[in-house]
């Protein structure tokens, strides 16, 4: 079980979190202008990265905040976390 660093709460057990898949999949601003292939790529296709992978998690049984986390999909080593929308966590408590 991973120990995940919530940027808002600190290190917590993986069981407190839910996984949200690959990060940085921005919703197209004008979906109607996309080809079917481009739309399918956004809806269905994800990179299946071996190694360092930026993904999003939510601290579901904690503060409820979504954040990004870099995780190595081979070793599970995790690195930097990021927050969404410029909502910066308060100074480390």
């Amino acid at each position: 079980m991973l120990l995940i660093r919530c940027p808002y709460c600190g290190l917590r057990d993986e069981s407190e979190f839910s996984y949200g898949g690959e990060a940085d999949i921005a919703r197209p601003l004008e979906p109607e202008t996309l080809t079917d292939a481009e739309w399918a790529d956004y809806v269905f296709l994800r990179t299946n990265t071996k190694g360092r992978f930026r993904e999003q998690w939510v601290h579901a049984h904690g503060c409820g905040r979504w954040f990004t986390l870099v995780r190595d999909t081979v070793t599970h080593a995790h690195g930097e976390t990021g927050v969404f929308g410029g909502v910066e966590p308060e100074a480390d408590g």
Partner: protein, 1008 residues
């Protein structure tokens, strides 16, 4: 069974761990025995001799106890009976208690007379790979053979039986955190725990034995010129005095996981058996998060193979040492020890001290002189350059033959018979690297020690110390343990300085390296040789490995599957390395090149009870009750589970059938007034200036035009264009909305909104809050409903002009603040009255007193289906768009929203997708089966063309007949057609395709 004649007299070896003042009676296979406190079931049985107590898996040969711990391959027993019973426990790991009752697991009809022994005599026709080739082959008839043989094979192979009665015991779960977790309380582990505790670390030391000490429990080691167990006692005392050190005996670490998370099973009440004190749980599952871990898990001795090396009385050499020193049991009068390394000398010396004549066959041409001299001085007959070739005897060891052994394991020259009834074999040591393997450690072949050791895991916060690293001497174990404990504590941030203890050990003069010996393969002209086993539990022989090599099953994974090597409940703890090495010999590769398999949790089997803990029965899943639950329960409600909620399915009156109750409830709503508890509907409070923007993006319809005081129905899709929830959202104020969701999706929808709000649209100023439990909801519906709600003490104007369909009003009802939605899921005029949860029962009672008939979820389903209203999850299954349901009216063409773009993909744009239709059975008394497949021609030869399926089907009290909703391919263009719905057993029912609305199609009643 004669008495415990193999228990040594009390003064023979004085340092044992049994309490002769505490005799314990127990039974095994129905016979009575006596052991002592401190015994294991295995040691207590061995006191009566090394008799057969199991039959082997495939050949059903008699088997006795082989090891002394987790490595035991043979002595699997079924412990106790009834609900308490546990199958496949190793006798070597069961702590003896008074009244214990156990039985062999793999003997049919009995250990003494085993019908299946025929497998042994027929073994030429059951070679390795027999099952594999016969039953797994793709050839014609493989399946037929399997059906013919399966019952026989299952019976014959029967390991223990799962209990059929409910488990009467209690299990606990404990969560713990520490700086340093030390696994194994032998000399290395104790040393590590002390070093870490001295540094000020929070330490947990776990060990699966009944008491700490590890190898020192054999009682023949000395530290600082005193019995080593004195040092163990002092170490425990110091750990006891440390500010935060926990020592857990009888606790086996089952698995190591990411970021140094460990699970361990502690035997608590278990060691007292079924008579354990009530306050004790049987087992306690520890979930330990450690900053750093030290693995001091020791090593398992491995044997080498020789003919009939499975005869009861043949054991691991070091197991014999432990039984003698720790339990004062030597299950023989004359011992033969075979070794290829130094470790057997301690066994030989201990047996000699106990007065047992010992022959020691050392495969090395030149045994280390210091050891050999000491052994000879003690009376041991040391035979250099010799190995055991065969054991004689059938159900017991009756003697053995040894001979000079060549480097490849072949015997040269004549064999010499040796009188012995106890044979010990020491083929080297396999570090217990299982737990390191759980964390991804690659086993590395150490040529000097001829064993696999775990590679370096320091980067993961994992260190190893002691025999698990291949260390052989006590001094090395203590030293490595200290270093690992100190470094682990330092890495965990504990920086207090400590001084390394200076301990004197009895390791003595330097020994000699191991001369690896895997199997003794002498070819004796004229003598019929017995089987030489590699894997005792799965009956894999040396020949089987050779056969696998010849048939080119050479990789370790193929070797395993072909021969079943290492696939038993012991995971091949004594067998794997020999098997790999022999495969290496056959194919000219090193054991490392053959490769090892990955060990996965659990290290030893974990009972389901320990994993379940308290989460069973009523505590398995929370039960959610609405504020009106007590009224429902007191008034005949039959409940159904909707997620965790208990919802009334229908209210039965005395003597009334369920069907009659549902019919009565439906008629009450259609003809008078009914009231339903709708408190479980998901309710999400949405506040902020951007709520309408959010609604426009997540719902398929338009929300700009919704005025304060009005409500609107909406559909939600995922980006793939498929419906995932629906519900009514009302606008209470400019920036305040309440969204309702389906009961089952309340949490999912809130989480989904949060995800979009946080990750994609953080600029939207919206707060979404679940208020589901804050409100109790009573839905009043029917032609008499207005009269009824008008009679409530309330400041709300209920008239149609003031409060039309799809309006929402706030006010007070019975003095409580209320939110009332005029929405209808039944097709009748209907008001959903929400009051604070604690006011729910009073509101409910007032409505009942006013004359409303309570109705349940099934009547609600019938009512809504008559109207053609869908239920998400019933009419939809994740492949259905709003257009498929004919709900294009709920889709905006003017805006973008989640899922819209997917509808122009070719598959979703097809005109002949499955559409929602109504079905009227030609025989109006027939209720079509929900889920029933729809076909055009039930007589069609397979494969039959499937057109869709029935999604909802009811008998309608309002229509005086049955009806159904269905998803039907190209359904909107099949109106009036006759289709056929297959029954679940046989046959089909004809039905006419109609529009999916059966009652009050213009909706006049709900607006009225």
């Amino acid at each position: 069974m004669s008495g415990p004649q193999f228990r040594l007299p009390a003064d023979t070896l004085p340092d044992g761990r049994i309490d002769r003042e505490a005799p314990l009676g127990f039974s095994f296979n129905g016979e009575s025995f006596t052991g002592y406190a401190g015994d294991t079931l295995a040691s207590a049985l061995l006191a009566y001799g090394a008799f057969p107590l199991a039959r082997s898996f495939k050949y059903h040969r008699p088997r006795g106890i082989f090891g002394a711990g987790a490595e035991e391959p043979n002595a699997l027993v079924q412990l106790e009976t009834g609900g308490y019973s546990q199958p496949n426990l190793r006798a070597t790991q069961i702590e003896l208690y008074g009244g214990l009752s156990a039985a062999s697991v793999n003997a049919w009809p009995s250990v003494d007379f085993d019908l299946m022994r025929v497998n042994d005599w027929l073994s030429p026709i059951f070679p390795s790979g027999f099952y594999y080739k016969t039953f797994m082959g793709a050839g014609v008839g493989a399946g037929r053979w399997w059906r013919l043989f399966e019952p026989f094979i299952r019976r014959a192979a029967g390991f223990g039986r799962a209990p059929t009665a409910p488990d009467p015991d209690r299990y606990e779960r404990m969560n713990a955190h520490c700086d340093v977790l030390v696994v194994g309380a032998g000399p290395a582990g104790l040393s590590a725990a002390l070093a870490a505790a001295n540094r000020g670390g929070r330490v947990i030391l776990v060990d699966d034995q009944t008491e700490p000490g590890g190898d020192l429990l054999a009682g023949d080691r000395r530290i600082d010129d005193a019995p080593a167990m004195d040092w163990v006692a002092a170490a425990l005392e110091r750990l006891g005095a440390a500010p935060d050190a926990t020592v857990l005996a009888r606790t086996a670490v089952a698995g190591l996981y990411d970021d140094n998370f460990a699970t361990a099973v502690e035997s608590v009440g278990d060691r007292f058996g079924p008579g354990a004190p009530d306050h004790l749980p049987r087992l306690r599952l520890w979930r330990i998060r450690a900053r750093q871990i030290v693995l001091a898990t020791g090593a398992h001795e491995r044997p080498y193979a020789f003919a009939n090396n499975d005869t009861p009385g043949t054991m691991l050499g070091n197991a014999i040492r432990h039984y003698a020193g720790r339990y004062a049991v030597v299950p023989g009068r004359q011992a033969l020890l075979g070794t290829d390394n130094d470790s057997a000398y301690r066994t030989a010396l201990l047996l000699a001290r106990a007065g047992i004549p010992v022959t020691l066959a050392d495969a090395r041409e030149t045994p280390p002189s210091a050891l050999a001299d000491a052994a000879r001085q003690a009376g041991v007959d040391v035979e250099a350059g010799c190995a055991i070739s065969a054991v004689l005897g059938d159900r017991r060891v009756r003697g053995a033959k040894i001979g000079r052994v060549l480097p490849d394991g072949e015997i040269s020259g004549a064999l010499r018979p040796v009188e012995a009834d106890l044979v010990g074999v020491s083929g080297g040591w396999n570090p217990a690297l299982h737990l390191a393997s759980h964390r991804g450690a690659r086993p590395v072949w150490n040529e000097a020690q001829t064993c696999f050791v775990p590679d370096d895991l320091t980067a993961l916060g994992l260190r190893t110390a002691g025999a698990v690293t291949g260390a052989g001497s006590l001094a090395d174990c203590l030293e490595q343990g200290y270093a690992a404990g100190r470094d682990a504590a330092r890495a965990a941030g504990r920086t207090k300085r400590t001084r390394k203890p200076d301990l004197k050990t009895d390791d003595g003069a330097a020994g000699a390296p191991i001369r690896p010996l895997w199997a003794v393969t002498g070819r004796q002209p004229g003598s019929r040789r017995g089987k030489a086993f590699v894997d005792l539990q799965n009956d894999v022989t040396v020949k089987d490995v050779a056969l696998a090599a010849r048939e080119n099953y050479r990789s370790v994974e193929h070797l395993k599957r072909y021969t079943t090597l290492g696939m038993g409940t012991d995971q091949g703890k004594t067998a794997n390395v020999i098997g790999l090495a022999l495969m290496g010999v056959e194919t000219g590769r090193s054991p490392e090149a053959v490769g090892t398999t990955t060990f996965r949790p659990p290290y030893t089997p974990v009972p389901f009870g320990a994993l379940a803990g308290r989460d069973r029965g009523a505590l398995f899943d929370p039960v959610r009750e609405t504020p009106m639950f007590d009224w429902h329960a007191a008034n005949g409600a039959v409940f159904e589970d909707v997620g965790q909620w208990k919802r009334p399915y229908a209210y039965r009156r005395d003597g009334e059938s369920l069907e009659a109750a549902i019919g009565r409830e439906v008629r009450a709503v259609r003809n008078a007034a009914g009231v339903m508890d709708a408190s479980t509907l998901g309710k999400i409070d949405l506040k902020g200036p951007d709520v309408v923007t959010l609604l426009n993006r997540v719902y398929t319809n338009d929300w700009e035009t919704l005025k304060v005081g009005r409500a609107r129905y909406g559909l939600m899709c995922h980006e793939d264009g498929m419906i995932f929830d629906d519900g009514v959202t009302a606008r209470l104020a400019d920036d305040h909305y309440v969204m309702t969701t389906t009961t089952g999706n309340a949490v999912t929808v809130l989480n989904w909104l949060e995800m979009w709000l946080q990750t994609e649209w953080p600029e939207l100023r919206v707060f979404a809050t679940s208020v589901t439990e804050a409100w109790a909801t009573a839905t009043v519906a029917g032609p008499e409903a207005r009269r009824l709600v008008s009679g409530l003490d309330s400041d709300i104007d209920w008239s149609d002009d003031a409060f039309p369909h799809m309006a929402v009003r706030t006010g007070t009802v019975l003095g409580a603040p209320a939110r009332v939605f005029r929405v209808s899921f039944s097709g009748e005029a209907s008001w959903e009255i929400n009051v604070p949860a604690h006011c729910g029962p009073a509101l409910w009672q007032a409505l009942i007193d006013g004359g409303a008939t309570p109705y349940g979820t099934e009547a609600m389903h019938v009512l809504r289906a008559e109207k053609g209203f869908i239920i998400v999850g019933q009419e939809t299954d994740g492949t259905v768009t709003p257009h498929d349901l004919g709900m294009g009216w709920a889709v905006s063409k003017r805006k973008d929203f989640i899922g819209k773009r997917s509808w122009s993909r070719p598959d979703t744009a097809r005109p002949d997708r499955k559409h929602l239709v109504g079905l009227l059975p030609l025989d109006s008394g027939t209720v079509l089966p929900e889920g029933g497949q729809i076909v055009a021609d039930p007589e069609q030869e397979p494969p039959v063309t499937m057109l869709g399926h029935v999604t909802s089907s009811y008998k309608s009290p309002s229509l005086d007949g049955s009806f159904a909703l269905a998803l039907l391919k190209n359904g909107r263009n099949r109106m009036g057609d006759t289709v056929h719905v297959l029954r679940l057993d046989e046959g089909a029912d004809a039905a006419r395709v109609v529009a999916p609305a059966f009652y009050d199609k213009d909706g006049g009643r709900m607006r009225g």
